[in-house]
Symmetry: C2
Subunit: 452 residues, 2 copies
Amino acid sequence: MTKIKYLLDESAMPTAWYNIAADLPTPAPAVLHPGTGQPIGPADLAPLFPMALIMQEVSTERSIEIPEEVQQIYRQWRPTPLYRARRLEQALDTPAKIYYKYEGASPAGSHKPNTAVAQAYYNKQEGVKRLVTETGAGQWGSSLAFAGALFGLEVLVYMVRVSYHQKPYRRALMEVYGARVVASPSEETASGRAVLAAHPDSTGSLGIAISEAVEVAVQREDTKYALGSVLSHVLLHQTVIGIESIAQLEQAGDYPDVVIGSAGGGSNFAGIAFPFIGAKLRGERNVRVVAVEPAACPSMTKGKYAYDFGDTAHLTPLTKMYTLGNSFVPSGIHAGGLRYHGMAPMVSHLLDLGQIEPIAVQQLETFAAGMQFARSEGIIPAPESNHAVAGAIREALRCKEEGVSQTILFNLSGHGHFDMQAYTDYQAGKLKDFEYSDEEVAAALADLPKVG
Amino acid sequence: MTKIKYLLDESAMPTAWYNIAADLPTPAPAVLHPGTGQPIGPADLAPLFPMALIMQEVSTERSIEIPEEVQQIYRQWRPTPLYRARRLEQALDTPAKIYYKYEGASPAGSHKPNTAVAQAYYNKQEGVKRLVTETGAGQWGSSLAFAGALFGLEVLVYMVRVSYHQKPYRRALMEVYGARVVASPSEETASGRAVLAAHPDSTGSLGIAISEAVEVAVQREDTKYALGSVLSHVLLHQTVIGIESIAQLEQAGDYPDVVIGSAGGGSNFAGIAFPFIGAKLRGERNVRVVAVEPAACPSMTKGKYAYDFGDTAHLTPLTKMYTLGNSFVPSGIHAGGLRYHGMAPMVSHLLDLGQIEPIAVQQLETFAAGMQFARSEGIIPAPESNHAVAGAIREALRCKEEGVSQTILFNLSGHGHFDMQAYTDYQAGKLKDFEYSDEEVAAALADLPKVG
């Protein structure tokens, strides 16, 4: 019997999240108040988030306990399987061992429920009745809708208009779970109306949708905002991915030479990578960590490490991150979940510390990788996840060239069942590569807020 | 910790399929040659199927070994999880225990790969280069496409025209796996051209698509036909579902009072039910077995137990089954996988023996059940699987009414990620119930072939 699947008994499921803040050689830069330019405190965030999440955002405890009720829900699909991609290895004729952690096994089909369930839980605990959020490709929105259904919370989702129309089935999924979905920019908020007044045909962006959601969240006491990536507490909740992977690779008697994740806001990447980076920071094990971003939204490879807003209407605090500028509108590539102008501050900090190798990959390479993966492994990856697949294939081919048998681990963050139009377009030769010139990036970076 | 998931270690995966023919009190009626009216022998089927599958079709061995190579592929997603639907139980406020076996965990998203992989394996073993099949909703076609990709077999799928246009994403899935998909009726076959000549706007049917696939399969030595349900070897391959369920329920210290499956051609139903019916036939354990069919295609509840063709062009042998007549065209309900005029001969025989309780459920009840399931359990069932969900909810509510805590097991045969349009239509109030009058059924039954 050739082993291809590594399961963990649910009794071995992590009971705590891993907080990388505990192992940093230098703390991440402070979050600043946009008005005063001074570091913000927990109270400043209270209109947006429940206090438990705010405290996680600033915690430096290494281990943060997962509440029993959250664990109970996780157990439906966690621990997720770790697979050895033996058929892909064969197709590539590589001496490398390729493992992938499959987060598409969750009910919503991606890693996002790891944080959605936790966020819904803490909000429920603090008496919140309604959660408001934004979604691009819809993976986050559907995950929060799922979590809301479990905890009896109302969920309102501002969905980037272009996705709202191009991905009616992702919207349908949210509605089956009971969420209300509004195309953004909308007439329901001042931010939305302002955009529509200037650009009546606006197809929206994550930055705009965040502005709308934040605006609505602060209007009612019983309503909070929920974010699916970028913030440290969101990344924290995703670390179950990496913690489980370490235990599963132990079963296989292996440890990765390289860990790979696709990176948009940074949460699935952090989920798999942080536990490994932590071990490296603590001097226990060495590892290379590769973050794969789209060439069409190259925040890490072409952006600037600077303070910026998280949204276009400048309603959020200022965080230091690799950014293309909050006014940057990424090309309409199919990996909608990776089209965000900035990178998570914690990922950015680790990149600045030299702990992460960022690479940018073109759209056509990612789809070619996804097709090869699907035909070998049977699972159709989400377009976002195809970036990690492409990164893994690059590493496997490098191993072949160098004649070395290294161990590659990547995060297959979600399935592509709601993204089949993208595969159809790819096969019909309708997809294109995109690259921004240095001038275009410089122009977008010109209006970064002045800080300090 | 409240247990909701029962996994089996892969070492506990079944290594043999269960053949119910070994436990029948009387053998199933013979398959007849349409020309002679005489029982057919293995040689008559050789143009269509590899000999290994033909021998399985007629075997009376209780246990048929699963080839190691097939086991190896099964192990990617098998044993599939068995869940206790505690949140659904709560929502229904029922004293019943509801378990569901989740076959949507396979790469193609349904139970169909259980037989697709086995069929591809045996065909490959016997030197076949190309498989031809038909598909309605697309679950079978995508599963065969997946299996073909793994074994390097060309796959050609005749897809019922209405589904070809209504379900472009299911078609895209087949194409990602490398299959060629043709809308049926097509101009590529004599059967297809005959239908189009008579009905240029024909939206197709499974019966027509089967005719086209069979016609193409017999034309070339290197090509065989593959069927996704109905035949006994197909049902045999699905018995891993029930065998695993028994082991998983043992873990839970439980045995079902009632086992429920949705029934179209009969394969997912047989997969979960036959191992339990076998135990009953051997006098080991008692159990009720409920087969849920759509009211819009009521072969078991309104059809006749008679010899009939499997296709409209009368290219198949004659089998005795509960049938609505091969010319019956079921209403366009969204559970396309259940729209077949006949029921598997082996299921029909067991029904005739009084081993199965058939019920017919209306479309709106099935979608209401699916929505309630999705909001409690997070998984979006396929429209076909919603029939089993509806059956389970009926039983759970009966238990509540009677105040008894029975154990209910049903097969959640697939997820509905490619069927979201159906959920959107349901929520928009666009779906309807259908029921055939006795006159309509009698008319369709009037032209059954005369046998014996």
